[in-house]
Amino acid sequence: MASPPATTSSNSITRRFDALKKESRRALVCYVTAGHPDIGGSLETLRALEDGGADIIELGVPFSDPIADGPVIQASSQQALEKGMTYDGVLALLERAKPRVPVVLFSYLNPILAAGPDALTRAADAGASGILVTDIPVGADPAREEWLGASPLAFIRLVAPTTPRARMAEIARHGSGFVYLISRLGVTGVQQTTAASLPETIQRLRSTTTLPICVGFGIATPEQARSVGKLADGVVVGSALVSAAEHGPEDVLKLTRSLREALDD
């Protein structure tokens, strides 16, 4: 598999991590579902994330059968689909919102495949910087991984707590932008505690790659963000922000700010 070319859009993620590194700060990566609670609400949510201090936005492409997601993101995806959201709709939303921070599309494989061979270049044209696909693990489909890896978008790969060290290296080698480390077994969703094995897993991953490591799944509160931020280069918050978006942009802004403050403490 070819390593991704150095292009402007994927480099915006790298530049962001470089800048953060200089300031010894951690990245706040914020997930929301595109089109949730509706298109207008989604635009306001994106604005609130920027204003609240998000470094990178993960924009969820809703899918009818999100097997890696818990109840909150499942419900938000369902709601977005009912409002007519599609892959093209996500790109249109992105063009309208023009966020000042890098945007990573977070998707299942099927909606991307259905969008056709130019899906990735169109996403880059719409302003996306990266793509993360939950259900295409390394080695699963070399031809399509090559397609994803060679696009102008950074190809963010996922590492799980169950991933052996040798495979971690393999995953990191085939990805770019950053590595997304799943903090615990299970699906997305708010948890009270973080996995006890996390420090050790981060260390194992760190020994295999120079890419920044962002930790997600189950991180909801400023306290959790602060403690995980001590170990990783960035934290991903998803379900908690999606729940906030349900209530409106003020809640999103408030939560994002408090996460930012905790992370910068």
Partner: protein
């Protein structure tokens, strides 16, 4: 990691799953390959298939149905297995494998409830903890099977998301497996899901075709000219097809559920009306809209009510080795009545699709044809539903 070819049937299949599951699938792959090469495992499986399931299942002649359609019809009687369907063949094989792998907790999904019942049965027999995910809509349609599972000690979890049927039950079972992957074993009920499941489930079900092939020679003195089976995910069909795939003279026919009609948009005919896509870990024909969202399936039979299909069926379709056809809900109910009246066998609604197609297509049969139908399950579970719909004769 096993080779690419082992994970696919032509372009179809694969392992499109969250990263968390990859080590578990690798472990399963290795354990399965080791088990099927272990004569001790085979002996134990064969012994249980004989003494617990009641195999070999008989091959019945069907004189009155034969007369009605104008050729010789033979019935492979999976309905006579313990628990009343072919599902037990796979549940037993995988249960034995789970035990060998030291797993104590079993997860399963179910549509009509037959696979859930088979899994609950095997768990009771082996002393394993059993959790079955079942769509709320299906729990309503198949109340008797819910009761059977609970009676045998299984926990039946209603699934309220999406269409509340098999598709969503499968998603929920996968989510449970991702969460409890270290101590749980997921028994998939059909030839679907990520590799190695489609191949493994087919291998455990292939006993149907192996027996039928020998029994046809014994009973009819010949090979069947056509083998017909219903296809939802497609496990009974793969099970009876597999032994016949190399015999090119044998026509293989899979009957999908046309629901309210192929043009109504309310059917489960993935192979005829779907396009290739990725659902539940594999690439196969899939009912989906133009933006890649899975289109809800419909069938009167909960067991066929699934928008995807096993990847090997996609391959058999693409290569032209098997023919895929369909019958509607109404025709299936008619098929159930016909087999009941003519042969004294009440088939499951799923199975009735295969019967109905053979009857509907009677013009295509010649006197010398020998048509083998897989009677994948018994119909008792469906009687409450069709009587409620006013479809039983007074």
């Amino acid at each position: 990691m096993a080779s690419e070819t082992l994970h696919r049937f032509g372009a179809f299949g694969g392992q499109y799953v969250p990263e968390t599951l990859i080590p578990a699938l690798d472990e399963l792959d290795a354990a399965f390959d080791q088990a099927i090469r272990d004569p001790e495992f085979q002996r134990e499986l064969d012994r249980l298939l004989k003494e617990y399931v009641g195999r070999p299942s008989p091959l019945s002649t069907a004189p009155r149905l034969s007369q009605a359609v104008g050729c010789d019809v033979y019935l492979k009687r999976e309905d006579l297995n313990h628990t009343g369907a072919h599902k037990i063949n796979n549940a037993l094989g995988q249960g034995l494998l789970a035990k060998r792998m030291g797993k104590k907790r079993i997860i399963a999904e179910t549509g009509a409830g037959q696979h859930g019942v088979a899994s609950a049965t095997v768990c009771a027999r082996f002393g394993l903890d059993c959790t079955v995910y079942m769509g709320e809509e299906d729990m309503r349609r198949q109340e008797l099977n819910v009761y059977r599972m609970r009676l045998m000690g299984a926990k039946v979890v209603p699934v309220l998301s999406g269409t509340r049927t098999l598709k969503d039950a499968t998603s929920e079972a996968i989510r449970d497996w991702v969460t409890n992957v270290n101590d749980s074993y997921y028994i998939i009920g059909s030839v679907v899901g990520p590799a190695p499941y489609p191949r493994m489930v087919r291998d455990f079900q292939s006993v149907i075709g192996r027996e039928a092939k020998a029994q046809m020679l014994e009973t009819a003195g010949r090979a069947p000219s056509s083998v017909v089976a219903c296809v939802g995910g497609g496990s009974n069909a793969m099970g009876i097809f597999h032994a016949f795939v190399p015999d090119l003279a044998v026509e293989l026919v899979g009957v999908e559920a046309a629901g309210r009609g192929l043009d109504s948009g309310e059917h489960s005919a993935s192979l005829q009306r779907g396009v290739p896509g990725v659902l539940h870990g594999s690439l196969s024909y899939l009912l989906q809209d133009e933006s890649g969202q899975v289109h809800p399936a419909h069938s009167i039979s909960a067991g066929l009510d699934y928008p995807g299909v096993g990847p090997e069926h996609s391959y058999l379709k693409e290569t032209g080795r098997a023919l895929y056809v369909s019958v509607t809900d109404d025709e299936a109910v008619e098929g159930l009545g016909i087999l009941s009246r003519l042969e004294g066998i009440i088939p499951a609604l799923e199975t009735s699709h295969a019967v109905a197609w053979v009857v509907k297509e009677k013009e295509r049969w010649n006197k010398g044809d020998a048509v083998l139908i897989c009677i994948s399950g018994r119909g008792d579970k469906d009687l409450a539903q069709i009587s409620e719909m006013g479809l039983l004769p007074a």
